[in-house]
Symmetry: D3
Subunit: 311 residues, 6 copies
């Protein structure tokens, strides 16, 4: 398969892509043309159909289409001038090729997360962990393939898992360095901190905010999800449950990021740092991936409130 | 009964008060004395036992005690020099005399609130309202006698009810003026917006933040309480439930006041205004109550970011 | 009349519109064309004159013109390709058709406001109210047809009146609910709070900031206008005048919105809430009006610091 | 006269001071004593009357009293143990000795300000200047002896004049350096920028916020005062008047300091800098005056958001 | 020479300009064209080469090119349709004509600055001043021709010198008005406050942030430069050095503008005001220069947080 | 030795303490007494000398004194009523017993830090590390025994070393988890990030801000110290030096905490997180140490913007 990020000026293309958008427009001289947004897992590409002939089969956004065309440069970016379109048939393509995805193997990451979870020694915390990550097949499936964001960082298949694993690893390190920290509580909180994202965002390929996501957010949803499981663990101490939910509530660390409470216990504080550091490191990594190897300064990044640079 | 706010310099007192605190201290010359904080529903009073004789019966904070003494002025405030203490016997006093309480009749206010609730026409919203305010005796008892705050405004018995009633009345007026507003959703949200306070704060006479109150806050608790009741109302539409919970989540209107989401629907916005206006009006009223009739400017009030004045 | 918000792709149009802007431009190939901004009370429309022939009569921005053309879509928005222009003659059009205007009848709203004003019982406040709203014909004319804003909310003919009436109604409700409030002061302040807008913004069709508006703002101007009238009411108590002017000064409720003082009396606080709530409700209404019935989420609104949704 | 800032431990005092406050208190052992706050222009002094005998004549706060006593140290500060008090008779003291006052000669400063004012060449600006500073005897008297603040900087007799002169001198320098600046407008604005303080604060010895000061502030009051004078200068151009009032409105330079508009013209910007710089320099000077010559670091000063140091 | 800011629609141009950028693009119909950004000291101009013939000599960004073409208007701005390009030969043009430059004579300004520096009486401060501005030829050359900014204010050849001179003049005035100020320290600090800009920004024609500029900023660089010179002035007192470096560190006056310390001594405070005032006055001047004489309101300026107006 | 934190009411004490402050005061009845602040490494104790007899030897703040007395409680805190004082002789006490100190062994911590430093592979970074931590005996001595703060966290002997070691350990973990990070740069930056504190604060027992500390702060000082060493490592690449200094400059992560630049490279970001996390964890630990085992909620902590709780 010829990936979008490999296409070069002048190249002739014959390939199946996912059509994310399609628009019917008119030039200034009144002639109708189509503007398409094509996607595979390596990026997106503008396509234009300047001549609408019988070679252009009708199609809708969300369909996979076989396109013939040639790459030209427009405003320094490649664009595909399309001469032929037909809808692809099931079996001609593999959906996984069309969605951005973690660089790491998903099952491998899940195994690592399970190994960390297995180290939770407190029985009721272990039980809660298992109620999500071992016993709840529907949750597991959603969790493994979800992104951690619509845009920002980890916005790809497996992103939620990759981020959760990384945060849990950091917390594990913190627990080793600081005696103050209750390791079992911290590991459980780290593993569960973003489970609400499985309902805040819809699954791929849509990956957009749900009504619930917009109106309540993944912090409140995550607490609701924990409450649901706790009904079946009657021996779970009330105070421990409150502390765990507090860690979820406070993990954004600032009111303006939607935490209704700020960290009041050291585990919540440690979780907040792990979550924030992993987000910043991944953002930096994604920023650098997106630009030319030779570029050093990447320009002002609102996210970092600074111009940012490769080292 | 001789109330604390009526005591005057030089007066001899023989009365039962609630002892909130008791401390054993020493003067600079090394003599031991006791310092007590006495309370009735009209306020608090410092008491001093300078001579610890057999007339001073042993007692603990939280007990009702009969004190004999004389009022002197210390740093412009009355203080009771105590010569005798004995613990009061059950029946000698009425606890209601010792806790600040709403000026309005609690049952009367509750009836008004029920009358407003009865106007909710949407069946599932009506059902939810009844599940708390008609069917749940334990909740009703807590709700009627709870304060709405530890300090700030409405910090007295019946304060939660008085505030809820006032907010619901304001919302009712808004719904009449603005067609945009879904009256049933707004009334339900107004009546339920602060139910989490029944668990955020402990009951009187303690009236202090619970662990749950400190770690999660009444917004998250309130949403959990709604979730609990919704289990028994299977016909409650998912989206309507999310909207109602959003109104609770967003009613503080600002992230820094602990709302994890800002108002995204007009009912949440209207509820936020009603809640905030009632808080401000009650604060102003309590401020003015606390000071001399002749004073006009009350000094800078952090709450209002301004010097404040009687009109 | 064929209104701008009803025009559909492919439709032939022959109609008089107000020409808000006109520009002479060149295509990349060097050919001159005209770009026009056309307006009626339902919205605005881009017009293009690709061929400048004798059928295109000379005209200026601000004139009413009869245009012949055809609607095409450009970047998802309708655009009028114009083949003929002639200036319209007085009598061929009614200016009221070309400016956005309140949905409600202006005289009816004015009567309602007068009825509220008539309830002011304090003689000197009643006198002040009448000096503007009964005796000053020039002011009344300006007030009735002014907008309340250049953009934001209530930016249409009658908008100032509609907003003032709504704020006064809210204040009336507050005065009934809170004994603390001096109803006469509050009603007077509500009715007068935005009178400075008659000089901050020029009249329609311009509706733009005046020099005075930019340099002083409607709060300072409004206070000056009250000062002017007070010269003829010598019995008006000095303190009452100061309180009324304070209500105007503080009605934005925050320094960063241009209030030189924050509410220091309860009437100023109540007025601020009414003003702000009405602004928010109207903004929400205008937002929803502008979008497709089927859209639920309207996207992030800076004004609300949130994505916003129809209920 | 023996000034308060010269009194030393162990010294016997017999002197007339202004009594700012007087309180009747009781020791822990129940004995009544008086606590007085005495003042002269060099500072304040705590006085205590431990024995209330016939040698202690009755007196009220605000009266001048002849006291006999001895200086002791209490918590590192001098305190006067008083054995005798009698009210002073008119003629025994000069009020000017009892209020803090500018180090500079008031008439001399006024002459300098008049000399600067005389350089305003634009006839209508000159006329406005004269209407206040030459023709209005009552205003002139108030202006010359007013303070520029209750606390903060320039809080002494002549402080308003000293600050105004200094700001005008700075503006004069700016006008020489920057051609952009309209010197006549800037000088007039500088001279008038704080005239509202003559009504925002009451005169000495009270020197406290008036109702008008609290509710409107000196910016709004100053604009009203200019409006009053402008009635008698019909030839004053409307736009020039608006610009002058804008300079007053914007001279605090930030919304949170009560400016309803930020500087929009270069003269308003220059005035803001002059006002702010003079305030900072005077604050620094007063800070350093108040402390021991040997102290270098004066501790964190909220006003400067920094620890502050003598150079 | 025909300057860019004098070119008018329809004019034929034959002139040498500096080519800042050159891009190869394609029209929608697939035809290649070139887009150039041309510059002289009066501004920049878009150039288009629609027909790529042998008359279009190859060239790179950064070269001086002789262009033949005709001015057309595109989106209200002039654009040059180019028919011929050849690279200019050394000697055909004077680089000074192609870079924005101070209106004032650079040597004259430098002499004025030297005259101010000569007034520093403290020997070690005088020595430091001379080590930069008299003895260090490389520094002097960089300083005289550097800009004070990439964009914002004083972003032209000689801008750093012009700004430094103006700030030093203001400080000289302040030192005369306020006895509190140590004139020698203040003059030295003013002259040195922005020397770090010679390394923060590269020289013209690039005038862009260096790595060091982005990573450390001119405040830290300036302190390092002072440290370097101080090695050769062993008699320079340690505390005086620290105070001078503090003035540089604190001259932005706010943490968010990159000052690691806020002004703690009066000289640092005065320097901050001078720096800020000069920046604001120059920004205002440059704003007004850029617009039509007839325009009065220039629109909202982020820099001033206000709409801004010519007086 | 009888430590201050072990003293109980009623106990007779005969022990040597460090006298931090001594004051001569007077009771209300005019009698002179002394108030002393005594210190050992476990805390501080108020001492009072009510009778000044020949048994009270003259002494100054900063001296070690042998005191005889008895512990009484005053306002719930122990206080020592002193009957005898004599100055201690050299040899009677060990200064280390009188200053708060790290719980961990200083040489052990230093060895761990050296082991981490030894892992820096890049020769010029290794050389820089050694120039401070191996070759500069004076620096090493200061670094090992310095505190990391006057108050806040790590304000004890060895605190700077303990904090630096902990931050370096965290960074080491981050470098293992994130490939993006240049481990050598990050380790060097971590080890050097707070070296400026050796000059920002004076050594124990004073441990207070120096002039340089107040005027420049440890960030600027640390950069100067690196610059000094770099003179002797000519092969150190300019860009690498700038990146290292940037890490020091940006490690506070926010302008308002005195960083003149925000993290622009990933190593600076990682260092900021490590520094901040360690500060928070240590603060939490110190908070909990200071309070009764049974207390769970510790009250609102400005540092955490939250009430804080033991888990």
């Amino acid at each position: 398969m010829r990936h979008i990020n490999e296409l070069r000026e002048g190249e002739n293309v014959r390939e199946i892509y996912l059509c994310k958008q399609t628009q019917s427009l008119q030039t200034k001289t009144g002639k109708t043309y189509y503007s398409l947004l094509l996607q595979d897992k390596t990026g997106t590409l503008d396509g234009k159909v300047w001549d609408i002939t019988s070679a252009i089969e009708h199609h809708e956004a969300g369909e996979y289409i076989m396109v013939d065309g040639r790459i030209v440069m427009f405003q320094d970016k490649p664009q595909l001038n399309i001469s032929r379109i037909r809808r692809a048939r099931e079996g001609e393509y593999d959906p996984a090729d069309y969605m951005p995805s973690s660089d790491r193997n998903i099952d491998e990451m899940y195994s690592e997360l399970m190994a960390l979870g297995a180290q939770i020694k407190t029985p009721y915390l272990q039980k809660l962990f298992r109620s999500f990550f071992v016993d709840d097949a529907e949750f597991i499936k959603a969790f493994k393939y979800h992104s951690a964001a619509k845009a920002v960082h980890h916005g790809f298949i497996g992103g939620l898992l990759e981020h959760t694993l990384s945060v849990t690893n950091l917390c594990d390190g913190f627990a080793k360095q600081y005696e103050l920290l209750n390791r079992d509580l911290l590991l459980t909180a780290a593993i569960c901190h973003d489970i609400g994202k499985t309902r805040e965002l819809s699954a791929f390929p849509e990956n957009d905010y749900t009504d619930e996501g917009n109106l309540l957010g993944h912090i409140v949803i995550g607490i609701e999800m924990v409450d649901d499981k706790l009904r079946d663990i009657p021996e779970f101490p009330k105070l421990a449950a409150t502390e765990l939910k507090h860690c979820i509530a406070a993990h954004h660390g600032k009111f303006e990021y939607g935490s209704p409470k700020l960290p009041a216990i050291c585990e919540a504080m440690a979780l907040h740092f792990a979550d924030n550091l992993d987000a910043k490191m991944e953002s930096m990594k994604e920023l650098l991936k997106g630009v030319d190897e030779k570029a050093d300064w990447l320009g002002f990044q609102r996210n970092f409130e600074s111009n940012v640079r490769r080292t």
